[in-house]
Amino acid sequence: MTRSAFRYIRRNPSMAVGITLLTVLALFVIVGNLLVDTEDARPLSAPTLRPPSQEYPFGTDRQGRDLLAVMVAGTPLTLRIGFVAGFLGVGIGTVLAFVGAFYRGLIDTIIRGIADIGLTVPGLLVLIIIAVSIKGTLTVNQMAIVVASLAWLYPTRTIRAQVLSLRERGYVEVARLSGMSGPSIIFFELMPNLLPYLAATLVSSVSAAILASIGLEVLGLGPIDAPTLGMTLYWVNFNAAMINGWWWWWTAPTVIILTVFLGLFFLTVGLDEIANPRLRRSA
């Protein structure tokens, strides 16, 4: 089993790249948590504005946070926002897509209309209005829910299209004729065939959710006292670290965010190839 998995990954280089990048990231967080005291991610726990040194490998920022500790503590927070919002989005999206595409009729028209219209609206701006309307500063979990409030639009649309094409297949017809009920057709006939596709959608949704959350945070609408990657970039921008030449301050979060996005992207491409074998010919 494992051997065949390895052999498969050899033929699917994007998957390999994606998994490698994400594994490196996971190792960084796990090992970091063992070696670094994440309490140092709070302000005033280190001298301010030190470039990378033996004691502070990633340097420290203007408020006296140890940037290595910030990265170790912040990376999982950012990923958590992404995963919670991504799972909620794909979950809601899948349910709506199945209900709409399988039963058609008025429900389908409404679901499709909302998704189509919602997708043309710039999501970040709607999220901004939502975030501004919430009293007080957001927590990390509230942040995830805010992001999830729009994260279901894209999955709904794409999964619905997939279900529409699947429901015309012969085996669904056979199941219907043999008297299977709607829900059991959905669960036992359609779902298993869509799983790889759902996985690919999930990964890209997580990526989109992380992007949205970082966007909100850079604009100053994030959890102010949490050391997430986006909040670190907010402080970078707030303190004009670029113009002041404090390069280490933005290098660490940039590299980690790049790793997250590249890893998730290549994983999506790899999963897409499993979900849609026709892509293999064109590669």
């Binding site: 043309t120 970040l124 209005i129 501004v132 604009l219």
Partner: protein
Amino acid sequence: MQAAYVARRFGIFLLIVWLAATLNFFLPRLSGQDPVRTKLLQQAALGGYVQGGIEEMTREYERRFGLDRPLWRQYLTYLQDVSRLDFNYSIANYPRTVRELIADSLPWTIGLLGTTTLLSFGIGTLLGALLAWPRAPRWMAWLMPPLWALHAIPFFLLGLILTYLLAFQAPLLPIFGGYSAGVTPALRWSFVWDVFQHALLPALSIILVATGGWALGMRGMMVTTMGEDYVLFAEAKGLRAPTVFMRYCVRNAILPQVTALALALGQILSGAVLVEVIFGYPGIGTLLYQAIRESDHFVIQGIVFTVIVALGFTTFVLDVIYPWLDPRISYRRA
């Protein structure tokens, strides 16, 4: 038939406008307390520190949206204001109105975004088409991995990296703003050149990322199109390769790209907002960032509404043009 199609699309556009206004009105009130009122009362209580206008604004706001008036009356008043593009005064920049502030910064954003979107769409589509074309030069295959990698990066992150490389390490380009400090905007060549230089870095960070996406999409469509029988037929007829490429393959493969453009505009704009913030570019994004920092709710609401309407309108125009690109659609009901 055509009129019905256009009318239907316009109906959707109006629906978007109405939704945006409704969202703007109800969301802040959902938390039980109107943050706009809270902010205004706070400012008014501060008294001397702020300009006198705040008290006037508070009184005006109370008159229109006061708690003594039923919600539906407040809502109707709001819709009426919005339909006249009256978003009230800016709390932080009184006596300037929100409309003035937006009108000042909108041209910058439209200029930056319009140019970069068209360029990246054009370059990316052509590149993607060539990537799928077997007779394209061999070295083009090497472009794929960097395009993929760039495509996965957020605009503003590339912006940060480019700033460091091209403006900080090697000071080739200006680092910040839309034009040099101390220069008065005027239609002179020197000023145009100055603006161009300042726009280069933000534009580059958008174009490099976006081009990758368009190229990938186009390549996928080209591969499918080139497998069609009519392409084989065209080749068998002995048509010249460029003709087959442009008239048979690209012409057909480009259609989904245009559909994707209508869908991507919102995302591009969301990304560009952050690019502006990173570069301090004097457009809508920077205005929004400042408004958030000063919790200037009128400005935030005004921007969100304006941008959603502007994008809704662009999508509407694209949708109306689309059947002209693809005669098979011919203004039928979708």
